[in-house]
Symmetry: C2
Amino acid sequence: MPSSHTNKTRLVLTMGDPAGIGPEIIMRSLANLSKERFAAFTVVGDGPVLMEAADRFFKGGEFEVVDPGGKLPGCVPGKPTQEGARKALASIDEAVRILKRLDTPLKALVTAPVSKEMIAGVKPGFIGHTEHLMKAFSSARVTMVLTGEHFSVVPVTRHIPLKEVANSLSGTDILETIAQVVEGRMTISGKKDPRIGVAALNPHGGEGGKIGREEIDVISPAIEEARAMYPLIEGPVPADIVFYKAMRKYYDIVIAMYHDQGLGPFKMVDFSSGVNMTLGLGCVRTSPDHGTAFDIAGKGMASSGSMEKAILAAARAASPTYFGISR
Amino acid sequence: MPSSHTNKTRLVLTMGDPAGIGPEIIMRSLANLSKERFAAFTVVGDGPVLMEAADRFFKGGEFEVVDPGGKLPGCVPGKPTQEGARKALASIDEAVRILKRLDTPLKALVTAPVSKEMIAGVKPGFIGHTEHLMKAFSSARVTMVLTGEHFSVVPVTRHIPLKEVANSLSGTDILETIAQVVEGRMTISGKKDPRIGVAALNPHGGEGGKIGREEIDVISPAIEEARAMYPLIEGPVPADIVFYKAMRKYYDIVIAMYHDQGLGPFKMVDFSSGVNMTLGLGCVRTSPDHGTAFDIAGKGMASSGSMEKAILAAARAASPTYFGISR
């Protein structure tokens, strides 16, 4: 495809913790995906660490390395250090600067795994990629999406105790989550017109108020409002029906009211093939569905499957004509 | 198998609402299963209705009909009546009397679907089979099980609003549910030593108390106590892991903390092949996973698949040597 080659989509990747499996799964992914030539890659991280990983795992093809500076002497796979954590964080910040400068509205970032604990040790208050990127991009709300082979799932509330879910759930949260999903629906599903199912909160959808009133008071009004914006939304659908229908390709995307409602069914069938996606930043961010795996880092054992899926999902987000789908 | 033929396990079935699909799916099931000759069948219900269904749907084999009395003139499929509801209820009560007289500790009842609303119209306060049978058998606690092709699931709390789940959950409930599951494990799984996974309540199992304390305060102590009685119990396992492992046959039975936690994943893969099972009565009760289906009753359209599975599950519960499995 010589014509697409001349003006390729650029994807920005961060190396993650240099002592984790990030550098090797990035290089292995680029090697496996480079034949497709669908994008140009900028990998942000420690030059020597990335070059060593490239020597071992990358055969052919091309990519650009941006090192944010700061020496990282004697980085050993499997042995995380404060210097490594500092460089992982600096790489994320450098990636943000590069993305902000990119002259396109379609931007995508792929992040390899970091150790939250290690970064919190050098930057107190660090909670994770998402919160850090929200601050960097001045984002007031992000939506977390898990996309798998069978369907995608979007939890409205996330890491809060189950007892707080019902009271935390607001019509605004539901509506704004739906809005970000509708806006990012192509990126999530690869379809222009995916069907979206919104789960109920209570057993049997509350049975008309007999087993809880949130469907009547909060969820249904938000869905009604959302349907004016995008008609292919249905719900509230009881949780023991919505995933059944998603599994049979009736719903492409399920919006779940809380973490386990969505992730229980999702991980049951897409445990290791899922990709995390964050919408609502200044770019679409994707990441593989696993951690730093310090225990196997540098041994050439880590599978790059989830990272490759994360890169392909980012490419779909950043490319105006990804694999023939036009917007 | 002539020897088992002489001293067969007896299964008791109730017809359900005579205007529903109960009579026809019972007769179709008995016809399909009669070749196996694994049990003798007593069907409790309206004689003429059952005989008409037998004429249409039952070819060969044998069963016994017990009519609790009371005429039911002009019963029309699809047209539920008060007389029909009264007779459905009388059939359940008669089945209980028959079961109480049976001279074996292994008893099983298969109930065809009734209309709760219709029975509540002739017997105010009727909520459903389960509550009615609890009273009839003087049972203080029952455990509801859904068994499917992939795994079985047991919700500790059931039809209550999600916001009440955390506060309703007690160590006693969890422990007594586990005890009934352990006692009925052969019936549920067909195995002597099934592996049981107990789900956590909060995301990521509460992350050591950071996202909810019920795992530490309530669930773990109950599991510890239960392990003294039966060692093959694990948990609390985060909900996004326990069903993944159940799907891959690591867990045979999952004990869920609330309705949707269990039924979301279960119905996703076993929507129409599931069997409901009630433990803790004076007998094991099974029922198909659907309702009266008045709209298709009498048309010969109703599938007897779920009813057949309910009968086979009841046979496993009532037979000391079901399909070669010895106790």
